[in-house]
Every structure is written in C-alpha cells, then in structure tokens.
C-alpha cells in the first residue's frame, strides 16, 4: 500500500513562508488596484522581487530540513483544517515559475508601462493585476494540500488567465477567450465532481490522508477518470486542444508568455500531484498508456500543424500543443517503472525537467515573437529578412529556446528527454522513445526554418519599424539561456525533486 507523503502533520520551521508565497502576490494585487495607474506597476514589480526572495527562502528551508515544508493553517489539523505542503516537486516548480514571472515582469515594463503623468489606462492596470493573480494562484496550486483549495486555485488561475487573452479587445480574441473560459470551466467542474466523489467515499479532501485511504474500487476509478479528464481539458491535451492556439496567439506578447509558459503548467502539475500522490494505489498501466497515447498524438499533430502555420505566434502556439504531449509521456513511463517494481524517480524527474525547460523556453519564444512584431510590423514567417542584423540577441534567444525544445545537449529539454528515453528503454516501452525522437525532429524543422529566414540579409534601405529597448532583448536572452543551460541540473548533488516524497519512491502496485 502506498505510504503517506510525510507522516507527521505539524508545522515545520519554514512553513510560514508558504503562506507568504500565496498571500504576497494577492496583497500586491489588491494594493496595486487601489493605487492604480503607474503606481500599480511599481507595486507589482516590488511584489515580484519580494515573492522571488520568499520562494528562494522556501527552497533553502526545504534543502536544509531534508523533508517537506508543511504549514497547518489556523492550527486546525487535517482532515478538518487545511494544510499547505511543499515537497521537492512543488519547490522546484515554485522557483522556476518565480524566475519566469520576474523575467516577464521586466519585459512587460515596455509594453505595459504607464509613463508618469499619463492617466490610468485599461490594459496596463489589468495586465499587472492579473500577472500577480496568476502568480498567486500558481503558488497555491503547487503548495496546497487540500483538493477543494486546489479547485479554488484552479478557478483563480482561470479567472486570471482568461482576461489576458482578450486584453487588446479585438473580437477574435474575445471569441477565443470565451471558448477558453468554457473549456476551462468544464474542466474545473469535472475536477470538482471527482473531488466530491472522493469526499463522499473516503470522508476527507486532504492529499496524504487520501493516499492512505484510497483503494482500487469503482468510485476511485470514476473519480480518477473525471479529475484527469477535467485537467486534460484545462491543459489542452490533444483532443481538447482546440481552444489553445487562437487564445495564446491572440494575446499580447507578454500575456502569451504567461499563458503558454505558466498557466497550463498549473493544471498539469495538479494532474501529476493526484496521479502520483492521491491515486498511487489505483492507477493501472493501461490507463497510463492511454494518457501516453494522447500525449504522442498531441506531439505528432501539434508539430505537423505548426509546420503549416504562416504566422510566427500561431506556430509557437501549436508548438505548445506539441510540447504538452511530452509532459504527458511521463505518466506511462513512471507507472511502467512502478509496476515493474523499480523506482519511478527517473521518469518523474524527466517530466518535471521537461515542464521547467518548456516554461522558460516558451516564455522566451513568445517574448521574442513580440519583439519581432514590434520591429517588422508583422510576424509572417515567410519574410523575416534582416531580423538577425536588427535584433541579434533576440534571434539568438529564439535559437537557444528552440534548441531546448528540440532537446539538443546541454539544454534542459535534452536532459528531460534523456531521462524519459532511458525510462522507456528500461521498461521496454520503446514506442515512446520513437515518438519523442520524431517530435524532436519535427520541432527542429520549424525552428530552423524560422532561424534561417531571419539570417537572410534585409532588403536594402529597410529600417526597423520601431526601436526595441535593449533590456527587453536581454531578458529574452536570459530566459532562453536559463532553459538552455538547465542541463547542468544533473550536476546538482542532492536530488531536490524527491525531497519529502516517500510515495513515489517505493510504490508497489498490487
């Protein structure tokens, strides 16, 4: 039987930081809303800095204590009260998301900055408030230990992300925002239905307590199926991906980076959390293979359709659909390892690294696309001539991010694919390795197409439409470098991701 995540339910020393990590972004949002105008941006940037410090302190506390960081809210122990838990997986995602959001914050100072003396405008204020709301809800998704609090976190994430899609107010973006909202609401209501079933049968919504009580019975399978299908709708896995490309391509550059890089990671992480922690004893290999199959289909369909795109932002959006497929290949490999009695750590680490490197690379790519649009006045892939000379750092960043998506060494994508392929080989599921390599090949095709086109010399007498500030290019390059150099994580002595996780280490399936 699976063991509880961490046996004792008592507040650990670093626990208060978890509460701060959730509430600081929301407090910053509320104060920024009252001040409004230019001051909202300054409040937001200050909150970003404070939040980054808190997240680093949490990581330090986790590594220091060597076990999950826990905080019992209000002193009421679960199952009655709510506990916040941050194990290795949560902290790694917290740090990665904090870095990407700070990068986006610095990048967005140019697009959504309000110079002093200018009256408060709609888009800048909304962007800064919703950026902090997305961050607060993501931190809550990573840290909460209660299924209903996670449902409220999912709703917070949806309500913060949908207005970002229709920020510039054109009717197509409003239409894709409405379609996104309907998919996301269907997803979260199915997730809630699964949680309700679990409470009806096991009497608690706390994840470690559920991990002990859940037995393989019809109600548990129904709850698993409902929750996972709901989260698939929110993460836009293959059959349910129709809403993603128009939504992510229509949004402004900084908002697209938030949507593609961060928002879909929230519901994906929740799927990982319930698959490996709550339903560790219930999941079967065939169900995991089905998830893997959907992931493989997403990789192939997403990449093929991306090849046919004429606009750069839509190309990157369909590339997101494909990369989401990689994230779901981790499930059959981990369950295959567990059912073979081996340790599923390799596959879980591979999946997490894939998620982190994709977050950084995709955010860098969308921000680069924003700079391309600002310089050329359009983002048609056909004629990107003269871009390399106009924006050298941005094209380099795009290439590095593309290399990380393809999986060239020493990038984070390479290390993730290496771990996943080695897991595939040890469990003799060779077809997943084939799919990954094919996906990498297809990704490399459209990345090289774009990069080669930008290297072509510009028409004579062509001048960039509007100058792009250097710090924006520097931020894009920094994020791309982070993703590119993530492969160095293999040198990290202690396996940070597995701290405080006893469940997935020795899950012996019946």
């Amino acid at each position: 039987m699976p063991h509880s995540l961490s046996s004792q339910d008592v507040t650990t020393p670093g626990g208060l930081l978890l509460v701060l990590a959730i509430l600081i972004p929301f407090v910053g949002m509320l104060i920024g809303f009252v001040f409004g105008g230019g001051k909202a941006q300054r409040v937001a940037l200050a909150t970003l800095a404070a939040g980054l410090a808190i997240v680093i302190a949490i990581a330090h506390a986790l590594v220091q204590s060597g076990d999950a960081v826990i905080y019992i809210l209000g002193g009421w122990k679960p199952p009655l009260g709510v506990a916040l838990r941050a194990d290795g997986l949560s902290v790694v995602m917290l740090v990665a998301i904090a870095v990407v959001i700070c990068g986006i914050g610095v990048y967005a100072r140019a697009d959504f900055g309000t110079p002093s003396g200018v009256k408060e405008a709609r888009a800048p204020l909304t962007f800064w408030l919703l950026l902090l709301a997305v961050w607060g809800s993501l931190n809550l998704v990573f840290v909460s230990g209660d299924l209903f609090t996670l449902y409220v976190a999912l709703e917070l994430l949806t309500f913060a992300a949908v207005p970002l899609v229709s920020l510039d107010g054109r009717s197509e973006t409003v239409r894709s925002a409405l379609r996104y909202l309907l998919y996301a609401l269907l997803g979260s209501v199915l997730y809630l239905l699964g949680a309700v079933l679990l409470y009806g049968v096991y009497g608690t919504l706390d994840i470690p307590l559920l991990a002990i009580r859940v037995r393989p019975e019809p109600a548990a399978w129904a709850a698993l199926a409902l929750m996972i299908s709901g989260l698939l709708a929110k993460t836009a896995l293959f059959p349910l991906h129709l809403w993603l490309p128009p939504a992510h391509a229509g949004a402004p550059a900084a908002a697209s980076a938030v949507l593609s890089g961060l928002v879909i990671k929230g519901s994906w992480f929740l799927a990982v959390r319930i698959w490996f922690d709550v339903f560790a004893g219930v999941v079967t290999l065939p169900s995991a293979q089905m998830l893997g199959g959907l992931g493989a289909a997403a990789i192939l369909v997403g990449n093929v359709v991306a090849l046919r795109q004429t606009r750069l932002k839509l190309l990157i959006a369909y590339s997101t659909v494909a990369q989401i497929g990689y994230l779901f290949l981790m499930f059959p490999l981990a369950t295959g390892l567990s059912s073979a009695g081996l340790d599923s750590v390799v596959s879980v680490n591979g999946g997490m690294l894939q998620a982190i490197s994709h977050a950084m690379a995709k955010a860098a790519m969308f921000m680069a696309a924003g700079l391309v649009y600002a310089t050329l006045g359009h983002d048609r892939v056909a004629d990107l001539r003269g871009l390399a000379s106009a924006l050298p750092m941005t094209v380099l960043a795009f290439a590095l991010a593309g290399a990380s998506l393809i999986g060239l060494p020493p990038s984070g994508g390479f290390l993730a694919k290496w771990l996943l392929i080695s897991a595939a080989i040890t469990t003799l599921q060779w077809w997943w390795a084939l799919v990954m390599l094919a996906g990498g090949l297809l990704t490399s095709v459209y990345v090289f197409i774009v990069v080669v086109r930008t290297l072509a010399p510009a028409h004579e007498g062509w001048k960039p439409k509007s100058p792009v500030p250097r710090y924006q290019q520097a931020v894009v390059l920094a994020l791309a470098l982070c993703s590119f150099l993530l492969g160095a994580a293999v040198l990290c002595p202690v396996d940070v991701m597995q701290i405080g996780r006893t469940v997935s280490r020795n899950t012996l399936l019946p």
Partner: protein, 314 residues
C-alpha cells in the same frame, strides 16, 4: 415515511423535467426563464435535504443573481437568434448523448454504492465548535476551520470583477457601468424600488447577523443587499459610481485585506496564521464578516452590471 418520499420523488421529477426542458427548448429566452425556475426549484430540494444555509445561497445566488444576469444577456441577444441556426450534426449529438449517458450511469453507480456508515466530519466539527465561539457549524467551517477558502473566495470574486472590467472599451475606462434598462422614473418600477429596498436592507442585515448562530451568513446577506442596490439602479433612481472612485476601490479591497491582517495577527496571538486567540474568536470573526460585507455587496452588484459603458458627467 412514504409521504415524504413521495414529495421527494415528485420534486426530483419536476427538477429533471425542468432541466430537460431548459436544454431542449429552441428559443434561448425561454431556456433562460426555464433555468431561473429550475434554480428556484433547486432551493426546495436544499430545504428537503435539510441544508438551510445552502438553500438561502441557492435562492439568492443561483436563482436570483444568476437569473438576473442571464435574463439581461438573453434580452440583449434576442436579435441574433436567427443567425445562429446550424445545429451540430447527428454524429456529434449521438456522441454527446453517449458520453453524457456513461457519465450519468457511472455517477449513479457510485451514488448507489456510497459507504453505509457515511464518513463525516460532523463530530470533529462539533467537538471544536466551542472554541470558535460561533453557534452555526457552517459559519465555523467557513471562517475558522477552512478560513483560507473563504479568503480565496473573496479574491476570486474580485479577480472576476477585474476580468469583467477589462472588457470595457478603452475610451470608457474609469467610467460608470450601467444596467441597460429604460425605466421612466414615475413608473411602477420606480414606486416598487422606493418601497422594497428599506425592507430588503433590514432582511439582508438580519440574515447576515444571525449567520453566526443560525442558518444565514455574509454571502446570502450581501446578495440580498446587492439585489436591492441593483433594483434601485435598474429603476433609474440612482447611478453606479465610476470605477476610478478611490472610495469604491478601497471598499472593494477592504474585505480581503482586513481578513489577511487579522489572519496574520493570529500568528502572534494564537501561534498560527488564521488562528484566533481563544475567547476572542467571535468578535474577530464578526470583524472579518463586517469588513467583507461591503466588498461582497459592491463586487456582486458590479459583476451583474458589467463593464463600464459611459464616462461620468464631468
């Protein structure tokens, strides 16, 4: 016992018939009316299930505000009825029917096999009720045991409001939202809007106040007060404030901020965030609820009113 069961069966059949009619009927406006009736019937079901707090919330929020929102939208969209005529093909309909049937069958199977000594947290909640100083166990759960959910709840409503406001046209930013009603100020609605609000305010505050020890609470009370405000504005007797007003923003933000301040004060006095020093639980809970009331009343009414459409008269 069979009489009560007969009533339940009748109510259940009535609700299923109303839901099926709401889905199946062609005209959208009729469907919205069907949904409002469905919401009010659902309130009866909550009363039959002996959950009065939820019945109040469903009547106020599910039947009332959601109904007002949908009727307002359906009335404005009536003219586009003709354009969207294409119904999905037979394949889609059968697939949807099969999917719905399997979900219903699976859920019915789960409901029939729920464990017999139903697992419950009622004893645990009752045991610690004394220390929260609140008589109504639901309010104790909302504001003591799981107070983080209620705080996030208020933040969800505020973020939805930011989302609704972000849909305004740039030229109207900072302006006033308005209810699209063409009521003349001498008509019957104005007369109604002068009689009902005083009584409604008393009822709303009463429901908010008894929430500590009897079924009621701030969500239900705030919804009633928001409905009264909307009635006055719908009758044309008052106007919504422009969203750039500083007092409006401070009131909108006051609820969650006071909640967080009291929560962190609990860290010092009672050793954990969102904990209450014993003996001071009830006054602190009341302070939080009083701070949350204006936030919820303003936010719920402004959610129904929608995005700003008009600049304030200079």
């Amino acid at each position: 016992m069979t009489l009560a069961l007969a009533v339940d069966i009748g109510l259940a059949l009535l609700i299923l018939a109303m839901a099926a009619w709401t889905i199946a009927v062609r005209d959208t406006f009729a469907s919205v009316i069907g949904f409002v009736t469905y919401g009010l019937l659902l309130t009866l079901v909550w009363v039959r299930l002996a959950l009065p707090d939820v019945a109040l919330t469903e009547a106020a929020m599910g039947g009332g505000l959601t109904g007002a929102l949908l009727i307002g939208a359906a009335a404005r969209l009536r003219r586009t009825e003709a354009t969207v005529r294409e119904r999905p093909g037979v394949l889609t309909r059968t697939l949807a029917a099969v999917l719905s049937a399997t979900v219903t069958a699976a859920l019915s199977f789960c409901v029939l096999n729920l464990p017999d000594p139903a697992p419950t947290l009622a004893p645990a909640a009752a045991a610690k009720l004394g220390s929260t100083g609140v008589g109504n166990p639901v309010t104790a759960v909302l504001l003591a045991y799981r107070s983080m959910d209620t705080l996030l709840e208020a933040i969800v409503v505020l973020i939805a409001l930011f989302g609704v406001w972000s849909l305004a046209h740039d030229r109207f930013w900072g302006g006033c939202p308005q209810l699209r009603t063409h009521a003349d100020s001498e008509g019957i609605l104005a007369y109604f809007a002068r009689i009902l609000p005083p009584i409604g305010i008393i009822v709303g505050v009463y429901i908010f106040w008894i929430g500590a020890d009897f079924p009621g609470g701030k969500f239900q009370g705030a919804t009633i007060l928001a409905a009264m405000w909307l009635l006055v504005i719908g009758a044309g007797l008052a106007y919504l404030p422009p969203i750039s007003r500083i007092w409006l923003r401070i009131l909108l933000v006051a609820g969650p901020l006071v909640f967080i301040v009291i929560g962190f004060a609990g860290l010092v006095t009672a050793g954990a965030v969102f904990a209450y020093p014993d003996g001071f639980a009830k006054p602190l809970i009341l302070a939080i609820e009083i701070a949350l009331m204006p936030t919820l009343v303003l936010a719920l009414a402004l959610l129904v009113a929608g995005a700003p459409q008009r600049m304030p008269p200079q």
